[in-house]
Amino acid sequence: MDGSVRSSLQGVILAGSYQWSEVGFDRLLPRPLLPVAHRPLASYALRWLDEGGISGAVVCANAGSRALRARLSSQAPRGMNLTFQEDPTPRGPAGCVRDAWFGSNVETVVVVDGTTIPVVDLQAVLDAHFRSGAAVTVVVDAAPAQPGRPGIQTPSGVFVFDRRALELVADRGFQDIKENLIPHLYKAGELVATFGVPAATPRVINASTYLSVNQWTVEQLAEKGEELPGYFALGDLQAHPTARLALDAVIVGPVLVGPQVRVDSGATIVGPATIGFGAIIGAGAMVSRSAVWRRSVIGAEAVVDRCVVADQAYVAAKAVLMGTVAAERAPRPAAAPTDRERSPRFANLAGLVRRPIVP
C-alpha cells in the first residue's frame, strides 16, 4: 500500500474492562495485561496492526488506562505512534472508536478487541473492505455447515470502519457496535460486509481460555522457530540467559523460562508452559501446561497441572494442584533461596532438554 493510503489508516484497540467480578482470576490483572508467552495480551494486537502496515494506534481503556500505558508503551513496535485514551464515563465500543477518530482526517479505522490475538491477514481484509465499498467489515470465524446445522459465523473481534460509519455514532452516551451501530447501518442501507477466517481466533475470556491461548502461543513460537528478544532457544525450550536451571531438571515440550527463574534439582516442566520472571520451581516439583507468573514459589515435590500461579503466589511443598488459580501469597516471608544447585553457564544445559528426535 502506498504512503498516502497508509496515513489515512488508523488502528484502535479496545482494551476496556469493567472489573466487577468476584471471581479470583478476573481480579488478578486487567485482561489486556495478562501475560501471554511473557508479553501483555494487548501487545499482540499492537504487533498485528504494525505488521499490517498501520503506523498509528489509539488504545482505549477506562479504569486501567494508567496501568496499560505503563506496561504497553515499552511494548509498542518501533515506529508505531501510540496514544492512550481513557473514557471517564462508559462510552461503549463504538463510542470509544468515534472519540478516537474524531478530529483526525483518517478515512479508515481498524478496530481490534484487546483481548484477542488476531490471526487474519490484515492486508487481505483491507483489500476486501475497499473493494466492496462497505461501511463496516466484520471479520468472522466461520464454522462450516454440517448436516442438520447451518454454518455459524462468530465475530472474531476485528472490525474495519469507514469514516461514514463513524459519523453515525452519537457523541455522547454508551454506544455499542453490535447492538447499536450495525443495525442502524443496515436500516440506513449501508453495506456491512463479512470477511471469513477458517480458523478460530484466540480470545481470552476467563482462566480456561487464558491457559489455552497461552499454550497455543508458546506452541506457535516453537513451531515457527521464533525467538523472543533476549531469549535463547534450545530445541523447544526458550530461556532467558539469567535463568538458572539445574542440570538434572527435565523439560519436555515447548516451555518459556523467564529472567532470573530458578529451577531446582529434579524438577520437571512439561510444556506448553510459561515460567515468569523470578519464579522458583522447587526440587522434584512438576509443572505442566501451566502459566506461572512473576516471583511465585512452587514448593518441592509439588504437582501443578493446568494451573495459573499468580504473581508472588506460593504453592506448598508436596501440594497437588490441578486446574486451579493459585493466588495466595506465602504465609510468612519465604526463606532466602540457597544457591546450591546452580548451573552458571547456559551452555551446560544442552543435556537436560529432552528434545524430540526430528527425522
Binding site: 472489573q19 459465523q153 454508551f174 482462566a207 515440550g253 488459580v325 526430528v358 527425522p359
Partner: protein, 577 residues
C-alpha cells in the same frame, strides 16, 4: 419401561492403523465399554448390544466378548432388522454414541425421568454449542451477504445449534428400521426421525460434551478417569501413589513416576524412564530406558522405545523402528481446551463475601414486617387506582432477576391499560439515550399514576417480590430484557445479585429524570463490587433522605474512596517476563 441398550462403536481417525475401536479404548481401570456397561446396568437389565459403525475385523466379536461375555454384536442394517424383529412395540431402545460424551459423565436416568409432553415421544440428549462464558454471538447475514445485526445469545440453552447427540431413547412403536439405525451417528438418526415426522424431544446436556472423535477429547476424558481412579474425588485432592491394575508390573529402581498414573497389568518400565501423570499405560506396555511418557495414553501392547519422548498423545498404533518425534497434533489452529478450566482455590472461594445469604434472610423478615405494617396503605392505594381508571390495581412486568431468572415485577398500575401499544408511537420522543424510555409528560399516565410516580409509591408492591425471594431491598434495578442486551459485563454484573427496590443509582444520581445510561452502568457495577451490610444500610438511609426530598447523596459517603477496590497491579518489571 423395558429398555434395550445399544452402544455405537466407531473407529475415529486416531485409531486408524490399530486394531482397536473406541469402545475398547482403555479408560481408567478398565475400558470405555466397561464404564458404559456399568452405567447402563442401572437402567436396564437386558444385555448390551454393540453396533459397530465400521467394518469389523473377524476377531472383533471375540475381543468385545472377552470384556463383556453377554454382549451381542450387531453389524449392519440387516442384522439390526433381525434384532428389531424380536422386540415388542412397547419396548424402547436406548442408544448411546460415545463420540459425544457428556463432560459431566453419562447419566442415563436424566433421559428417563425427563418429563416430556408425551411419554411416547423419542428423546435425545443433545450437546448444544455452549461457549465458556455462556455468551455467544452470531452474525446474522441476509441473503445478499449484508450483515443485519450481530445477535448475542446469553443462555447456553437458547443457543440453537446442536453439535452432537450423546444418547437417544427411542420407542419401538415408531417403526424403526435397520437402515435407519445404521446411519452411523445419532445426530443423523435424529434428523431422519424428524424428517419422518416422529415426534421427539431434545434434552440439552448440562455442562457440554467432549468430542471423542478427536484425540484431545479422548485425552481429556482419560485424564478425568485417571484422576478419579487415583484420588477418588477428582480435582485438587492429594493424588495417591500410582495405581496398579493387575499384577506383574515391573518398574526399574531408577525410573521416575510423578503425578497420578494408572498402570495396567504387565507394564514394564525400564531404567531411567520417566512417566509424568496424568498418564495411562495399557496392559503389556513396555517403556524403554530413558524414555519420557508425559501425560499421555499408551494402548495395550505398544512398546515405547529407548530415548523416545511422548507428550500429550494417545498412542494406539505400533510405532516404527526409527521413531519420528511425536508432536502435538495441533495443526496450527487454535482450539480452546475441552472441559471445564481452572477454578479458584478453596480459600478464595471461602473468602468471598458471606453477606448475601445474611442479606437474603434480612430481606425476608423485613419484607414480612413491612407487609403487615403497610397493608392498610397498600389496600388504600389499590382502591384509588381502581377508582381512577379501568383495569387492575397491580401491574406485573417481566424482568430478569438473579442468574437471568425471569420474574414478574409488581407495581401499582400508573398507566392506562394498553399503554404498551402506545409506547411505540411515542418512542421517537424518548428523551434519554440508551434503552430507557422516559418522557417528561407521558400522556399515558393516569392522574393517580402521576402522584404515585412522583412520590415513588408505585414501587411499593415490590415488597411482594422481596417476600418471594426474587428481589431484595437494595440492589441494581430489575431490568427488562432489551436493556440487558447492550453491554455484556454490565449484564453479568447485574444478574449476579438480586435486583433491588432501591439502589446506588437512585440515591446517587445527579439528575432525576434524565439519568444517563453510562451513569447507570457505573453505579450498578460499583454496587456489585462493593457489597456489604454497611453499604446497604447507607443506601437505605440515603433512600429515606431522598424520599423526604433532601436530594441526592454523594457517592463518597456511601463508598469512601479508600475502599474503592481497584484491581491489584505490581510495579512494572523488565519489559518481557
Amino acid at each position: 419401561m423395558n429398555l434395550y441398550p445399544i452402544l455405537l462403536d466407531s473407529r475415529p481417525s486416531y485409531l486408524e492403523g490399530s486394531r482397536s475401536s473406541l469402545l475398547l479404548v482403555p479408560l481408567g481401570t478398565g475400558t470405555l465399554l466397561d464404564h458404559l456397561r456399568a452405567r447402563l446396568s442401572a437402567v436396564s437389565l437386558n444385555s448390551l448390544a454393540v453396533c459397530p459403525t465400521f467394518e469389523p475385523d473377524p476377531d472383533y466379536v471375540a475381543r468385545v466378548q472377552r470384556i463383556y461375555p453377554q454382549a451381542r454384536v450387531i453389524a449392519g442394517a440387516h442384522a439390526l432388522d433381525g434384532y428389531l424383529a424380536r422386540l415388542e412395540p412397547s419396548d424402547w431402545l436406548f442408544m448411546v454414541d460415545p463420540r459425544c460424551f457428556p463432560a459431566d459423565g453419562l447419566d442415563p436416568e436424566s433421559l428417563l425421568h425427563h418429563t416430556s409432553a408425551d411419554p411416547r415421544w423419542a428423546r435425545h440428549l443433545v450437546a448444544l454449542d455452549a461457549s465458556v462464558t455462556g455468551t455467544k454471538e452470531h452474525v446474522d447475514v441476509d441473503r445478499e451477504g449484508r450483515v443485519r445485526r450481530i445477535q448475542r445469545y446469553y443462555d447456553a440453552v437458547t443457543w440453537p445449534f446442536a453439535s452432537g447427540v450423546a444418547c437417544s431413547l427411542l420407542p419401538c412403536s415408531c417403526r424403526l428400521a435397520g437402515r435407519e439405525l445404521d446411519l452411523g451417528s445419532l445426530a443423523d438418526l435424529r434428523l431422519s426421525l424428524a424428517g419422518r415426522g416422529v415426534p421427539s424431544r431434545d434434552l440439552p446436556m448440562p455442562g457440554g460434551a467432549l468430542d471423542l472423535s478427536e484425540e484431545r477429547g479422548l485425552l481429556a476424558l482419560s485424564e478425568r478417569f485417571i484422576l478419579e481412579a487415583t484420588t477418588g474425588t477428582g480435582r485438587g485432592a492429594q493424588a495417591a501413589a500410582p495405581l496398579f491394575v493387575g499384577n506383574h508390573v515391573v518398574i526399574h529402581r531408577s525410573a521416575r513416576i510423578v503425578g497420578p498414573v494408572v498402570l495396567h497389568e504387565g507394564v514394564v518400565v525400564e531404567e531411567n524412564a520417566t512417566i509424568l501423570g496424568p498418564a495411562l499405560l495399557g496392559a503389556g506396555v513396555r517403556v524403554g530406558p530413558n524414555a519420557v511418557v508425559a501425560q499421555s495414553m499408551v494402548a495395550p501392547g505398544i512398546s515405547v522405545g529407548a530415548d523416545w519422548v511422548i507428550r500429550h498423545r494417545a498412542v494406539f498404533a505400533d510405532l516404527p523402528a526409527n521413531p519420528p518425534a511425536l508432536r502435538d497434533p495441533a495443526s496450527g489452529g487454535y482450539h480452546p481446551a475441552p472441559g471445564p478450566g481452572p477454578v479458584d482455590t478453596a480459600e478464595q472461594i471461602e473468602r468471598r463475601s458471606r453477606y448475601p445469604p445474611l442479606k437474603h434472610a434480612l430481606d425476608l423478615t423485613l419484607s414480612l414486617l413491612m407487609l403487615l405494617v403497610l397493608s392498610p396503605v397498600l389496600a388504600l392505594i389499590a382502591i384509588l387506582v381502581r377508582l381512577d381508571s379501568k383495569g387492575s390495581a397491580l401491574y406485573g412486568h417481566l424482568r430478569e432477576g438473579q442468574g437471568g431468572k425471569v420474574f414478574r415485577c409488581w407495581k401499582f398500575r400508573t398507566m392506562v391499560t394498553g399503554a404498551a401499544a402506545l409506547e411505540r408511537q411515542l418512542k421517537a420522543q424518548s428523551q434519554v439515550d440508551g434503552p430507557q424510555f422516559k418522557i417528561e409528560r407521558d400522556p399515558r399516565v393516569t392522574r393517580v399514576g402521576h402522584m404515585l410516580r412522583r412520590s415513588n409509591l408505585d414501587e411499593l408492591p415490590q415488597i411482594l417480590n422481596v417476600l418471594r425471594g426474587q428481589m431484595s431491598f437494595v440492589g441494581p434495578r430489575p431490568s427488562p430484557f432489551r436493556e440487558n442486551q447492550l453491554c455484556v459485563p454490565w449484564r453479568e454484573g447485574r444478574l449476579s445479585v438480586r435486583p433491588g427496590i432501591t439502589g446506588l443509582w437512585q440515591v446517587c444520581r445527579h439528575d432525576r429524570d434524565q439519568g444517563d445510561f453510562h451513569q447507570w452502568i457505573q453505579y450498578d457495577l460499583l454496587y456489585v463490587r462493593h457489597q456489604s451490610w454497611l453499604v446497604d444500610l447507607k443506601i437505605l438511609l440515603a433512600t429515606v433522605i431522598a424520599l423526604a426530598g433532601r436530594g441526592h447523596v454523594p457517592l463518597e459517603w456511601i463508598i469512601p474512596k479508600s475502599q474503592l477496590r481497584q484491581v491489584g497491579l505490581e510495579e512494572p518489571g523488565p519489559p518481557i517476563g
